[in-house]
Amino acid sequence: MNDNVIIKVEGLKKHYNGGAVKALDGVDCSIKRGEVVVIIGPSGSGKSTFLRSLNLLELPTDGKILFNDVDITDPKVNINLHRQKMGMVFQHFNLFPHMTVLKNMTIAPTKLLKKSKEDAEKRAMELLKRVGLDHRANSYPSQLSGGQKQRVAIVRALCMEPEVMLFDEPTSALDPEMVGEVLDVMKELAKEGMTMAVVTHEMGFAREVADRIIFMSDGVIVEEGTPDEIFGNPKNDRTKEFLRCVL
């Protein structure tokens, strides 16, 4: 197996309502270590389902997902251990409202990685500082703006030292003026060599940061390539149509 491939998806299918809805209908794809993959496509095309399947938040109907060469769709695999290495950032942040920012960030490392409280807090403060939120460590999520919440959500995932980060429309729920601060954090993360899979409608970000762009439609990958190939010279009609709409 190729050492460089961190996630390999083979024939991934996700059907709802006994096959009436085919959210994913045979997706093959692989993500290399350090690669930034941006997934675009019209609403309902299965982007979220695909991303959420990668850490098994959605249980695939069929197909395989190899993470570090382990098929995590195998029921015998302890998925919880693998999820620790895949950070996920949601559209709606999903911070824990009953915990402070710091507690949001330290609960997983202390409970799951058995880190000491001091170590976990030290790391959390480092990360908060990097996203400029160290002064909000003791705030509760409800006291933060949307952009701040999403930055906290990102560093919360980073506290687990993941090998790959999954982003599902991280800026879609934000007021426009806050989109930049979140994208900046993601760009920096990409620069540092983090493996990232990002579902987004921010085409500027995709063009600037992505190593590869995947265009999905109707539960399948229609076209993929470098930003230049996809934005500069889309081959598929559906890709062309979609880009005409969003650009």
Binding site: N80, R83, Q84, F90, F96, P97, H98, L112, S142, A157
Partner: protein, 463 residues
């Protein structure tokens, strides 16, 4: 806005609580201070009043009695100043020589009395009266001779500050030899009964004055004079009732011990219900989310259906008499088990609702970090669910407290039972039942207040 309403609620709750406390305190204080107000006149003063009063009675009752008075030693035995006797003062007199004085002056009394009445009611019945009096005065003297030597008279202070002599019915009989029964204000008495025969005395000023003077009363009323206003009377009656129901024989202990039992049952059953409810809710939610626990889930559903579909009273009777009594389980434990089981079903549905109300994103966030289902539940879902359902849980707990009152059906000595016990001793309904209600109310208000506080603290994290 939210804060304002809770503030208002808090104020109302505090007001009601204060009212309850003030009410209870007033009754207690009134009943305690009864008979214990400081004496306002000393014995010497009282003696003067007594002497004056007798002086004013005797000459006009019957001239002969004057002689008795000279020989009698009237001493003030006891001064009672207090609430009970209504007008602040009552005096007990010792008249030790009455028997001797009366006997010694038998003839003078008969003569004097005869003269007095004969003159007073000359027309139209003078002859008859003469006859009656000579016979009856003998009876009177005999009665007086039989006296133990002590008469009790009471002095009352009237609102305008003057003192009045009040004689109870027995004393009146004694003094007048059973001849005169005066009812109502002396000024409106138009008839007097002389040995069973009613005589019109409307036009007889002498008789009227005579009787009036005889009793030394300007407005004699055969009932105790009551110059206090209605509210005071009402409070006094309340205090008496309070005393009779709770203070007497330390009967309040029935309520205190009952309250203890009620609280113990509620606390134990509440904790049991909470634990049971959470377990059932988690089983149900787990089953809903990933299909585990099929059999357990079915059992839970059955339990919920049965408990929520039957009255708690019936459950209690079945649990105690059918299931537990035969194997010798005590009443208290049976009650706790019953209410715990009952409460558990309601808690389960409340908690399940709470768990379902937590945003699915919370579950995903927890799971995506690598927490397993149980950890996610414990760290993220349940704390939020708990916060969301806390008011409902508190209400359930309060309901439980109130429902536990049916425990008396199996003979548990709870608060309700305590009230019923007192009721069966004193035959009053008002005091024991209202007291039971007030105690329940007070506890409920305290609980509501505590929960409000807790809720505000929990809410801080979401502000």
């Amino acid at each position: 806005m939210n804060r304002n309403t809770t503030k208002k609620k808090r104020i109302i709750a505090l007001c009601v609580l204060a009212a309850v406390i003030v009410g209870i305190a007033t009754t207690v204080i009134v009943s305690i201070t009864q008979n214990k107000t400081s004496v306002k006149i000393d014995t010497a003063e009282a003696q003067v009043i007594v002497d004056d009063t007798f002086d004013s009675i005797i000459p006009s009752t019957a001239t002969g009695t004057k002689a008795i008075m000279d020989k009698m030693q009237i001493t003030v035995k006891d001064i009672e100043y207090g609430y009970e006797k209504n007008i602040l003062l009552s005096c007990e007199y010792s008249v030790p020589n009455v028997k001797k004085a009366v006997t010694d002056n038998k003839n003078a009394i008969i003569d004097g009395t005869y003269k007095f009445f004969a003159e007073s009611v000359k027309q139209p019945n003078a002859t008859k009266i003469k006859q009656y009096l000579s016979e009856d005065m003998l009876g009177y003297i005999n009665a007086a001779e039989m006296l133990s030597g002590e008469i009790t008279l009471s002095l009352y202070e009237i609102t305008d500050g003057s003192l009045q002599l009040y004689l109870d019915d027995t004393t009146v009989d004694t003094v007048t030899g059973g001849l005169i029964t005066a009812k109502g204000l002396i000024n409106s008495i138009n008839t007097a009964t002389y040995n069973g025969e009613t005589v019109d005395i409307t036009n007889s000023t002498t008789v009227r004055t005579g009787i009036k003077d005889c009793l030394a009363l300007s407005n004699y009323d055969s009932s105790k004079p009551d110059t206090s206003n209605k509210i005071v009377v009402w409070f006094r009656e309340l205090a008496d009732e309070f005393e009779r129901n709770f203070v007497a024989n330390d009967q309040w202990l029935y309520l205190a011990q009952g309250l203890g039992t009620t609280l113990a049952i509620t606390a134990c059953a509440g904790i049991m219900g909470l634990i049971l409810g959470f377990i059932v809710a988690i089983i149900r939610c787990t089953h809903d989310s990933n299909g585990n626990f099929g059999i357990l889930n079915a059992i839970c559903k059955f339990y919920l259906t049965v408990v929520r579909g039957t009255p708690v009273m019936v459950q209690l009777l079945i649990i105690y008499f059918v299931l537990l009594l035969p194997i010798g389980v005590p009443k208290f434990i049976s009650a706790v088990l019953c209410f715990g089981l009952n409460s558990g079903a309601y808690v389960a549905e409340i908690v399940r609702g709470g768990i379902m109300s937590v945003d699915q994103g919370q579950n995903e966030a927890g799971r995506s970090l690598g927490f397993n289902f149980a950890q996610t539940m414990i760290h993220f879902i349940i704390p939020q669910a708990f916060k969301a359902v806390l008011p409902s849980l508190a209400n359930e707990f309060i309901t439980l407290l109130k429902e536990s009152s049916v425990a008396f059906y199996i003979g548990v000595a709870d608060l309700t039972q305590g009230g019923l016990k007192i009721r069966s001793i004193t035959y009053s309904n008002f005091m024991p039942l209202i007291a039971v209600a007030l105690i329940y109310l007070a506890i409920v208000l305290i609980l509501t207040w505590l929960v409000g506080k807790l809720e505000r603290r929990l809410r801080k994290s979401e502000r």
